[in-house]
Structure formats: structure tokens, C-alpha cells
Symmetry: C2
Subunit: 200 residues, 2 copies
């Protein structure tokens, strides 16, 4: 049986650990990297090391950042009365792209998932509660966890926890995506779209 | 507009240069890498640097190797009378997997492609000719370049070049892939399958 040289086999193995990269793709990526100039390959490796080294979690919102507090938390032009709770740093990036929301964020780094043994203490929930105590200016919390079983469970759990503080809690709408098609929508999405209908 | 911290943006940019990795996938991979333990991220980076550093081209067959000559060229149990010409190192890996061929290889690192301005001097063709001169024991050359326009052109060019030396030249068969379906095969593949039919 043909064996790749050790260092190539190791590279294929490491690339194959990335999400969505199977063994065939890992092999293709490895051969591509080997065909690069030394300079280019080193830049890729360096960017991995540097990104890990230079980023930390913002002590306020737990988002990935190079400066602490992060540019969003330290921006006085943003609305510090609004707080949007998301699961992952990539969700902040997605929401910022829409350019409509100008409040702050809180990144949970996960969602409650009893099936995977992830409880409230495994996500950045304590940090959120401490933050609510320290910053009494927060008036509304928008729960923007994913509309999945775990995301919904986390939203329900959070709303029960926060309710006694008197802060307004809202949940982002579920319904048909824009450009979507009634015919192809699943029943739960359709039910949510009806439930969330608005009077015109 | 939201901007990723510099080092994250750079990581996404570098990952996005890999083949088949678009900007969305690059972003997902970057966030995955950032969620890894330092140890794991460093291993990935190191494997890239090490693979580049430790591999070189075999001076005989031009395949990627850590030892020169490579394990295939230096293996006396292999048939040194047979030489299989392929385009890329990954092709050697694919052919070795079938476990049927026990001759040597020659890796061209590309194919002749006038459209992309890649001529005979841009691939490891000179190395092949020198090899044929030096190793008079080679009796058959199997052209296993891809059955694409460029691969076919390279095979034709090579066969004309080698013919005068008197060495037997063969081309791997084209036809329907095993498990394939006549109905879904394209015309050129079908024509090749007919042309290459064998008397039973």
C-alpha cells in the first residue's frame, strides 16, 4: 500500500480535521499547499498562528477581538441600551453585515444542548448576567440565537432568567426567508410565519 | 461596515486562496481554527511549514518525497522496465491505491496547455527524456495523463517524441467508468468506449 511521505500524511491529517473537509479534499488542499511557493505557504501558516495569538475574547461581550474591550463595546456612537445575544462570533459578523443594528452584542459561544451535555454553565451566560448587573443602562435584550432546538431552548432559558430584572426581552422573528417559496417551506417555518403575522 | 480584526481578516484571506474554498467557507474555517486549542492550531500551522520544508522532488521521477531518490524509485522489488507518466503527484497516490501497478513513475507537474501558455518546457519533460537516455532498461512507457484536452495533447506530444527511441508506448484506456450508466455517459466517452472495445 502506498504511503505518503510522513510530513505530507500529517498535513493531510491535520487539514482533514477542519469542518467540512473530507479526506479527498484534505488531500487536494495538501497537494495545493505543496505546490505553493515557500513564501505563500509560510504566510498561510503564519496567519493561523497570528490569528490565534493576537485574538482574545472581549471582556465585555465575549466576541473575538484584538483589542479589549472590542471596537463595538468601546464605540460610544453605538446604542448601549440595546444588547443582542448570539451564539457565535460569526453571528456578530453576519448581523453587522445587515447594517441595521447599532446596539451591543453578547456572544454565548454555544447554546444549551442537553443531548451534548452542554448546560448553562458551559456557555458565556454567567458573563451575561454579571454584565446586566453592572450595566444598568441596558433596556432591551434581543435574543438572536439560532432558530434551532438548542437555540430556542437557550432563548427560553435566558428569557426566564432575565425576566425578573424587568429588562425588555425580544426574540428575532421566524418565518419564510425573503425570496423563499411557500411551496418549499417546511411546516414548522410556515407555522412560525403564521404565528408571527403582522397587521398591515 | 463591520470589519474583522486584522489577524482574523488575514486568516480568512489566506484560507480563501485555497482551491475550492470560497469566502463563506474560509470564514467558517477561520472561526473553527480560532475555536481550537492553541496546541491544535499550532499543529496545523506546523504541519504546513514542515510539509513544505521536508519534501522535495525526487531527482529521478520528480514525485514529491522526503528521501531522494523516492521510496518508489529506490525500491528494487518494483519493475524498473515499466514507466508510468502522470501529470501530478496526487495521480501517483491514486494509481498506487489500485495496487495493480508495480513499475516506476514520472511526474510531469502539469500538462501542455497552449491556452494557458504552458509549453513542453514548462513541465518535467526534459527530465523524462534525460531519464530515458540514462536508463536503457525501460521497455514500456504508459501515458497516464488525464483524458482531458490538455492531457491528451501531452500524451500525443510525448508519444511522437519517444517513438523514435523504439520504446513501447501505451495510453491508459478511456471508456465508461465501472458502475457507470450508458444512458448518462457523454458522446465522447461512449465513442471512446466503442473505439477501445476488446474481443472477448
Amino acid at each position: 500500500m502506498y504511503k505518503f511521505p510522513n510530513s505530507i500524511a500529517k498535513l493531510i491529517r491535520e487539514l482533514g480535521k477542519l469542518p467540512g473537509i473530507g479526506s479527498k479534499t484534505a488531500q487536494r488542499l495538501a497537494f495545493h499547499i505543496l505546490s505553493l511557493e515557500n513564501e505563500e505557504a509560510n504566510q498561510l501558516a503564519e496567519s493561523i498562528v497570528n490569528a490565534k495569538k493576537n485574538t482574545t475574547l472581549c471582556s465585555e461581550c465575549c466576541n473575538l477581538t484584538e483589542a479589549d474591550p472590542c471596537p463595538i463595546c468601546s464605540n460610544n456612537k453605538r446604542d448601549h441600551k440595546l444588547l443582542c445575544v448570539v451564539e457565535q462570533p460569526r453571528d456578530v459578523a453576519a448581523l453587522e453585515k445587515m447594517n441595521e443594528y447599532h446596539g451591543l452584542y453578547h456572544v454565548l459561544h454555544g447554546a444549551i444542548s442537553p443531548m451534548d451535555d452542554i448546560g448553562p454553565e458551559d456557555i458565556k451566560l454567567r458573563e451575561l448576567l454579571i454584565r446586566l448587573q453592572d450595566h444598568s443602562e441596558i433596556k432591551e435584550i434581543i435574543l438572536a440565537t439560532n432558530p434551532t432546538v438548542n437555540g430556542e431552548a437557550t432563548a427560553v432559558y435566558l428569557s426566564r432568567l432575565i425576566k425578573p430584572t424587568g429588562i425588555t426581552i425580544s426574540r428575532i422573528a421566524s418565518g419564510l426567508p425573503m425570496g423563499g417559496d411557500l411551496e418549499y417551506a417546511d411546516e414548522i417555518t410556515l407555522a412560525k410565519a403564521f404565528e408571527g403575522r403582522k397587521v398591515l
